[in-house]
């Protein structure tokens, strides 16, 4: 029996695998995989490579599941924004329920495998991180408060914590510091983006900081978070959890981050034809910053043996 209805409209079943793949937000997942892997590699102790791979896969699939649930819930909003209207659900290539079911299946599968293969503490934190992103951030905070990004930033901060716990099976101060670093990094990273796409957010009624508190306040808050981020990234070194390689890298990277943030924080937009170059530069650098910072954490661990 053919599954294809021959006398109806082109069904949403026409979504192909690329559409499902797009639901997982692969570009965001790159950072999730990388920070999770760094947490796993920098953790004290040893994990079998197969189990290590499984842990990272579960973190990635869990993040993909949460992203699919986010796209299902926000499909109406996505349809109203230039940046997101080509996503599979708002573009009409997929039924919203397919995105929802796909999200639940990925999330449930990732948590089960993490729990059974790695450990239930890692599985539990993975489950909470999915709930945090899909419900606390997407459903609850994002449409209600301009602080959505601040608190929601926690969702993206879980991967190194989970990667670390996959190895150690217990929570210590160091993975919590890694969590806090991404938590504090998120507002300046995202608000830099929100500054140059704020028209889109305003159009669909999302209370992003530039829309609600105004550009001036957002710029100053970006600078404030960058000021807090610098000593926070140096804490692992000061507390003796890492060696000099990480410490020097964190200092140099942090100072540059602060300089870019100061350029954004202390300037005013010059009318509607402002190209927002400092904001775009800060957004781009913030991604590189996190990649290099966490990379250096692993390099330091391997080279100096700290935390071994």
């Amino acid at each position: 029996m053919s599954l294809a209805p021959s006398s109806t409209t082109l069904p949403s079943m026409a979504a192909d695998w690329r559409d499902f793949y797009a639901l997982t937000k692969p570009r965001v997942m790159t950072l999730v995989i990388f920070t999770g892997l760094c947490g796993l590699l920098a953790a004290p102790g040893h994990i079998n490579p197969v189990l290590g791979f499984t842990a990272i896969l579960c973190i990635a699939v869990g993040a993909g599941g949460a992203a699919a649930l986010n796209m299902w819930w926000e499909s109406d909003l996505d349809a109203g924004m230039k940046r997101t209207r080509h996503r599979p659900v708002p573009a009409g290539r997929m039924e919203p329920t397919s995105a929802r079911d796909f999200g639940f299946a990925l999330s449930g599968g990732a948590v089960m495998v993490m729990g059974l293969a790695i450990g239930w503490l890692a599985g539990l934190i993975l489950a909470f991180s999915i709930f945090y992103y899909a419900w606390i951030y997407t459903v609850w905070l994002k449409p209600r408060t301009p602080q959505n990004i601040v608190i929601g930033g926690g969702a993206g901060a879980f991967p190194p914590l989970i990667g670390w716990i996959a190895v150690t099976d217990h929570i210590t101060l160091m993975p919590v510091l890694l969590f806090l670093i991404i938590f504090v990094w998120t507002p300046p990273h995202f608000w830099a983006l929100a500054l140059f796409v704020q028209i889109d957010y305003a159009k669909v009624g999302i209370p992003m900081m530039p829309v609600v508190a105004g550009e001036r306040s957002t710029r100053l808050q970006i600078l404030a978070y960058a000021v807090v981020l610098l000593p926070l990234t140096l804490l692992p070194w000061w507390l003796g959890y890492t060696g000099r390689i990480y410490g020097v890298a964190a200092l140099v990277l942090g100072v540059v981050f602060l300089m870019f943030s100061a350029k954004v924080g202390l300037r005013h937009t010059r009318g509607t034809d402002d190209a927002m170059k400092p904001e775009k530069r800060l957004f781009g650098y913030s991604i590189l910053y996190l990649f290099v910072l966490f990379g250096m954490l692993v390099v330091d661990h391997v080279a100096t043996g700290y935390g071994a």
Binding site: S6, A14, D16, F20, T304
Partner: protein, 69 residues
């Protein structure tokens, strides 16, 4: 009112369905391989009497001399 699918649309529909089925089959095969590998690792660690995550050092910060042994 719904419109009937044209032969071209029907062909496109079937092609997408086929590519999705292939992708799903690949994922399932990969999962079988992964679960088999996990089982082998678990059996090996249980046999060696060291099930679960590897023991770790304490929560205290390590000094250079301790950590770099």
């Amino acid at each position: 009112m719904s419109q009937p699918l044209t032969p071209t649309e029907l062909a496109a529909f079937r092609a997408r369905q086929k590519s999705r089925s292939r992708a799903l089959a690949l994922v399932l095969v990969a999962l079988v391989v992964l679960f088999f590998a996990i089982t082998l690792v678990k059996l090996k660690t249980e046999k060696a009497g060291a099930g679960g995550p590897a023991p770790t050092s304490t929560d205290l910060p390590l000094t250079k001399s301790q950590g770099a042994q």
